[in-house]
Symmetry: D2
Subunit: 437 residues, 4 copies
Amino acid sequence: MEDDPLTRLEDIIPKHMLARGKITLDAVLAPIKDLLNRRQFPKKAWSESQVELLLRLLSLMDTDKDPEAARVGEREARIISPLLERLSAGFCHGVGRSGHLTAPQPKAVGASQMQFLANQVALSALKKLGIPNIRAASVLPLSTGMAIALSFAAMRRERGVSRVLYPRIDHTSPKRGIELAGLETIPVNTTLDDDAVIVDMSDLERKMSADGIAVLATTTFFPPRESDPVKEISKMCAEADIPLLINNAYGVQSERVMSSIRSAIDAGRVDIIVQSSDKNFLTPVGGSIIASPDGAIIEQVAETYAGRATAAPIVQTLSAMLLIGLERYTELRDKQKSNLSFLKEQLESIAGKVGQRILDVENPVAIALTLNGLNVTGVGAKLYNQRVTGPRAVRSGDQGSCIDDYPHSYITMNAAIGARRKDIEKATIKLYKVLCS
Amino acid sequence: MEDDPLTRLEDIIPKHMLARGKITLDAVLAPIKDLLNRRQFPKKAWSESQVELLLRLLSLMDTDKDPEAARVGEREARIISPLLERLSAGFCHGVGRSGHLTAPQPKAVGASQMQFLANQVALSALKKLGIPNIRAASVLPLSTGMAIALSFAAMRRERGVSRVLYPRIDHTSPKRGIELAGLETIPVNTTLDDDAVIVDMSDLERKMSADGIAVLATTTFFPPRESDPVKEISKMCAEADIPLLINNAYGVQSERVMSSIRSAIDAGRVDIIVQSSDKNFLTPVGGSIIASPDGAIIEQVAETYAGRATAAPIVQTLSAMLLIGLERYTELRDKQKSNLSFLKEQLESIAGKVGQRILDVENPVAIALTLNGLNVTGVGAKLYNQRVTGPRAVRSGDQGSCIDDYPHSYITMNAAIGARRKDIEKATIKLYKVLCS
Amino acid sequence: MEDDPLTRLEDIIPKHMLARGKITLDAVLAPIKDLLNRRQFPKKAWSESQVELLLRLLSLMDTDKDPEAARVGEREARIISPLLERLSAGFCHGVGRSGHLTAPQPKAVGASQMQFLANQVALSALKKLGIPNIRAASVLPLSTGMAIALSFAAMRRERGVSRVLYPRIDHTSPKRGIELAGLETIPVNTTLDDDAVIVDMSDLERKMSADGIAVLATTTFFPPRESDPVKEISKMCAEADIPLLINNAYGVQSERVMSSIRSAIDAGRVDIIVQSSDKNFLTPVGGSIIASPDGAIIEQVAETYAGRATAAPIVQTLSAMLLIGLERYTELRDKQKSNLSFLKEQLESIAGKVGQRILDVENPVAIALTLNGLNVTGVGAKLYNQRVTGPRAVRSGDQGSCIDDYPHSYITMNAAIGARRKDIEKATIKLYKVLCS
Amino acid sequence: MEDDPLTRLEDIIPKHMLARGKITLDAVLAPIKDLLNRRQFPKKAWSESQVELLLRLLSLMDTDKDPEAARVGEREARIISPLLERLSAGFCHGVGRSGHLTAPQPKAVGASQMQFLANQVALSALKKLGIPNIRAASVLPLSTGMAIALSFAAMRRERGVSRVLYPRIDHTSPKRGIELAGLETIPVNTTLDDDAVIVDMSDLERKMSADGIAVLATTTFFPPRESDPVKEISKMCAEADIPLLINNAYGVQSERVMSSIRSAIDAGRVDIIVQSSDKNFLTPVGGSIIASPDGAIIEQVAETYAGRATAAPIVQTLSAMLLIGLERYTELRDKQKSNLSFLKEQLESIAGKVGQRILDVENPVAIALTLNGLNVTGVGAKLYNQRVTGPRAVRSGDQGSCIDDYPHSYITMNAAIGARRKDIEKATIKLYKVLCS
């Protein structure tokens, strides 16, 4: 019957049309093939269709999709209903092998490749976005705080680290991470530099003489806290042969921050750089990316996760990177900078009207306005009820300023990557109303 | 215009039909309302539509869905493309608050409720499936090994635990978990009881006198290893005032195992019971459930995760539990038992033909067939290539038997919950062919 | 960088695993390749993943997916939001070319292939399900009534048909179809054969002498109406050189009905056979399948649709046929037969208790129980309110029995393909309660 | 257990947070509630989440979703697999009742409401977009050509129309529509007005004296054809008491065209206005919208569809209208106008370079450039291969110009609603290259 002239495709659809269809399909598939071959952060953003096709082709390589497989293990990615396949983008086997997060999983060859691609694309992205001098990266299905935990646990196991010098940041997660790994946090003092709160380098230096030490430096936090001088610290770490972990939570969006890390790597010793996937690459919350100039340490961290993990944050991070690409990321960065300028103008204008001022602090995404003499908690609560999310209102002297007795009360607002001008406009208008009421 | 008779719904669709539509909608919504009110593991399985509707309604309460919100934080669940909303079932904010996994997140009220429901349904499910004497449960977005890590880290912080007595199990993940948390593993010997490998209770007792001790007992592992006698151990722990964590990785499917844990709780001291979500509830790999007769310890473990986490494994676990329900779980358990009998028959028949025998070991899901005198590695490799996944072929004396110098080589196969009779049929036929070739 | 040993896939994932992944992917893709090559109704049911992959690959050949296309027509399958791509399974261009439903569309090569596959698979399915002596088939994005309209409009244009002899069926749609096409319906009388209502063959014969005549015969309708004797009619049509259209609305499920059509084709003249896609192949409502021993007439009908049409019913019908396959269809047919027996038993049992009886009528899916002396309308309304859908309650002498003055009141229930035993159980229990109340 | 303090939501999630979640949910649901109450084309565009939630809530009212239903009809929206539910957005029952497309379907109350909403929103949209003087509208799951067929079939049945005066348009679909309905097309001549081809009004007037006549006027076609003067024609129709159908295929995007129809309604007699849903509202191909100042005729057309129809094009059209909304539609119209200017500039610039000229024809979306003395077919084929879709290259004197012996060869390009400036840029650059090669 196949030879019946009525049933032959070529007799129904003319050849030049079939050729045209092939051209479109090839154009759609080209970035996918290129990714599989070269594993680079793409220049041009992918379409959703392309991402979905990649994920499907990969997930169809896992054994749970094999119609001929006989599955007699206790864990076989069996699912109760197809909805769960959709909820996991088809990666029902998760990623990793017991006790090694990036080890290929024999039952999940597709997931293993997906994870491999995610790691390679993350490496390529970070290189192209400002730190070309790294050699390895890994997307972890964990928060940045947990990535810090795994990193220090690996350093404990492999390098005998038992204590972490931590220039003061008033943020719970990193401390919890250090604690989870069973290490001790040794706080390093901060000091006031006009409005800005900065690390006290002499205190850091003094404390570096202890045994079993590593350093945790931070590039991004709320004003009045400024970034730690990572280049200077990396030099000190190199001299003292002390591991340095940089918490670069949302620093990828900032060319300046990335440039400082690049210099730090060139000038001294940087062991691991940790960044959030959602704050930098606009994915749902839940993943992080660790990177290093040294491939071995990244592997060691991967060997610290105890079991097989959810593939979801890795799928989401890979997808987001492909859906952005370098050109669009550059546009997003430009937008972020112009939004930050706009936020500054708006807050300056409010400051003038209500008799406050902008704190003179260098920060890549946030601006702080003083709230001296005002009911700070009330301002925060009112903004929450007015549907403004994300501002931080801190009372003079309270926890949050990363120093004891900070002399100002203030509120911070962010113009982070992905925010819209409209967000800033609305938020500042509402702030003004709250301050006037 | 609203009053124009042409445009009134009632004039177009007769009242009795609208009433009929309402009846259907109410019937579909009834389980959702019941869940929100009573938070119980449902008796009847939900449909995919119902689960999707629940997830959508909840995720629409998160601030990133608020069309009027002004979002000026550095983390606002901004996503680059709607595909990421689908990949995260709408829970772009993840779960938890920095350093507290189950703390409600002000920006993500929907995700907070989703997580709360997941925890409550998990609690209800475990109660109904055999351990009614627990008081709290929590679904973690982490492997069971990581759940063990967080549990011991919480015990270290709250109860001064520093060393874990671990009756020998040849499995990497739990050890990695203990290590990640910065505790020391003290192996407890096993001993041979005919074919079976069991914990050496006298060795355990001897080692319990040390300081800063907790015990990690195991209910499910491959034969020839048998379950640890958790009731006896819990009594000893109660007497000695030592915390006990039970790794119940895939024990929920077994009424006998669940019953033994129930007795252990009643008779002595059980602090935490850890179980896999995928191995017991047929979700994609990536989550685990911790439970306890004591609510406080569950909270303490939740406070050990460093940051905000991916919601995906929690969404998947909640969905799977709703898609199963008690009645279907009971059916699945019955099927598992009959599959296990079938597996035993098949292997016994093969044993007779090839001059081997079944190991006489009590195990809720697995059977082991001796491979004495055969090329064990070759058998495993051939089965992998023949698309049989999950069997374990172990050479006499090799790592894997949980004892030094186990006298038999053997292969194990599982008839776990969710497996089909066809899997077992195919796998044993192929095994027979491999053994005859 | 591609040569960096850290970044090569083969170094990360062992070769034998990659080979295993390829085996799974090949196994998943094999039915897709086979479909593209042989275009047959598959023996084995496809998985949802396979269907979705096929649809995606095809839809990615349409020009609206071409990233390099410059689209300057007035109709370019532009969509306002990706949701619409999902709602149309990616076939935004629809199917057909103005005024020819199956003509390949230069902008939509993928949709053209999808439609071609749908038509070929439908042809193959109908052949394998009982009418091997057809030569062409086409899935129309229209109801069976509209398919009748297009068929007769094509017969008018091509063969000068202006009037349709229609053995009486009390159903609006076919009559509307004939009317839409601008033809005149000439009713043919029915007659009583004990309980059964059958066509009056002598009246049919008498009326066949007129000019410009075609015949519309029916194989499936509610009892007491029986199927028209299509073999006898087709012989008469052959002799008189009159076109015959068989409305086989839900006859594909019945081997007996299909066999009678096969004989009709062999014995005489059958021009077109029309069937519903949803009633026979368990798709959503909206499509139909026309088939013929003569390819030309199918093309002529396709040239009767005025414009480009929605692809949705065609995509749904193709998907449903692939998701069923021959083996599962055979199982569904067996189930249908046993459900019909069960329905008969249930109704007989009720009949005995309430003093009614089963009408002695041959029907492939339905049974009728007399309701003599009862409030027929009340019974129907009560069942609707009790959530029983699909029964027909007809008063003696009323429209619906396909004859004037049918002597019994009755209710019909169906055990159609895809129904569950539970449906029949519930419906008959409720009927019994209604009859007793 | 419900009273256990550990399990109460309020104890877990603070009240002010729950209130905040409710605010977001209410904000998301507000447009849905508003739609159900007021059934208006929304001012603001909906999000995909909102549309999906609306569709789900409605589709959950159909009886196939009722877990308690006993379904014993031959057509019960049974589907073989959940994929088909997704492919039909849940509306497995389709729309309509046999022989009445907009009649409420007792088994599908949700689909009936969905369809009702689609019709009302379409009415509201057309009113707000330029023809406030209509009273009813209906979204048909059929092409515009089929809508014309149904319209004329209804006019034949209800008003004795048997022939259609059709000012010449070289387009197959409308003629096929008239033919399908069994009516005769009487062509009305066109005439040349400088470059433009326009209807010969005297010929139209002359032919209007015949019996059983209706008129089909056209507002949108390719240059050199200009829109028919619908106001003048509607006056003539009013005087002669002749039905007028306006084929407004892609005229909604044009304020000028809509204004002319408004005047035509006010000044004379307009029975039905037909428009494409995809060309005007950026949905996938497959639906159309009919509108009228007279509600009765819209109902009569709906009663002409023979059977129950696919819901897909109606769901898609409703979704698209909600995803656009009035504000965004206005933006799209503005963009269309500026794109048209840009297209004109580009083509004028090419014309100057290659010695051709722009035809002086009024057209809301298209511009024509002469190709005198060139290989017209070659130009078209080359552009197709260069991935330019949608231009029409017509040789002097060929079919396509809507007049015999049109003196110019030419190519048309469109700047239709939804096109991107980039499309026009690429297409004109490629055209220039082709003309120079």
